[in-house]
Symmetry: C2
Subunit: 151 residues, 2 copies
């Protein structure tokens, strides 16, 4: 499967996805072509989903953040929720959950007014019974979405 060299490469790409294969190779004790081949393989296998930029939300005007618990009617299908949620550019992540609420949605907005408008639009979706919002005060920890796997 994945050996510790693969994990070390993922670790380096996590720190800087634009690092040259030669520089990554220097860290993981491999030549540039060898690193490239492993990265290509990780891409082909879907372990690596792609390369992105890490942006500062505040610098781009997305200063307000909230988590919205969504309570849905009867047996709303996940596909119905996804189709609805995908239309909101303000929704960063959404998932169905076990517990009181049916879905949990992470929303980013420009300000509280904007956030309020988005939550109202969500609450007005046909399958939504009610919502419960939790506004974020201060971010404490912000890490890559997948924890580092140490071997």
């Amino acid at each position: 499967m994945l050996d510790r060299t693969d994990l070390a490469i993922l670790d380096q790409l996590g720190l800087d996805a634009r690092a040259s294969f030669a520089r990554i190779g220097a860290v993981v004790n491999l030549s540039a072509p060898a690193v490239k081949r492993r990265v290509d393989r990780l891409l082909a296998r879907g372990v690596i989903d792609g390369f992105t930029v890490r942006l500062d939300p505040a610098a781009l005007g997305w200063a307000t953040e909230a988590h919205v618990e969504v309570y849905c009617t009867g047996a709303t299908r996940p596909a119905t929720m996804r189709d609805a949620f995908e239309r909101y550019p303000e929704i960063v992540t959404a998932s169905t959950v076990a517990g009181e609420a049916d879905a949990l949605v992470h929303v980013r907005a420009h300000d509280v007014r904007h956030l309020d408008a988005v939550v109202e639009r969500i609450a007005a979706e046909p399958f939504v019974v009610r919502t419960r919002s939790t506004i974020v005060l201060t971010p404490l920890v912000r890490r890559p979405d997948t924890p580092r796997t140490t071997v």
Copy 2:
């Protein structure tokens, strides 16, 4: 500040952070050096925080996910929470929130048993009164952490 060309560049980097400046330039109608200068400027200004790899958590064995509301004693300082939460590799994000709970923590674990152990450790922190966990069933939407800003 940021013009629509900058935003278009950020958009392209979001799709593929390893794309060549020339290819990005072809999309945003700019020469490669011009794109590089803008990216350098966005990095210097902190709008771009860095470049990372997007990984498939499941492929790396992080199949279980939960959101944990943390209720703290009296006036626990955010710094105290951060110091504690940062020691958990399983914690992806954490923030203080307004509402019933004091903090909201996003946890990734290998399986339910692992998740349970992590939540118990969090609950045992000296400043924690109680926790309330919401386990994720199915991810519906998963987008870049900062929404696209259309101008």
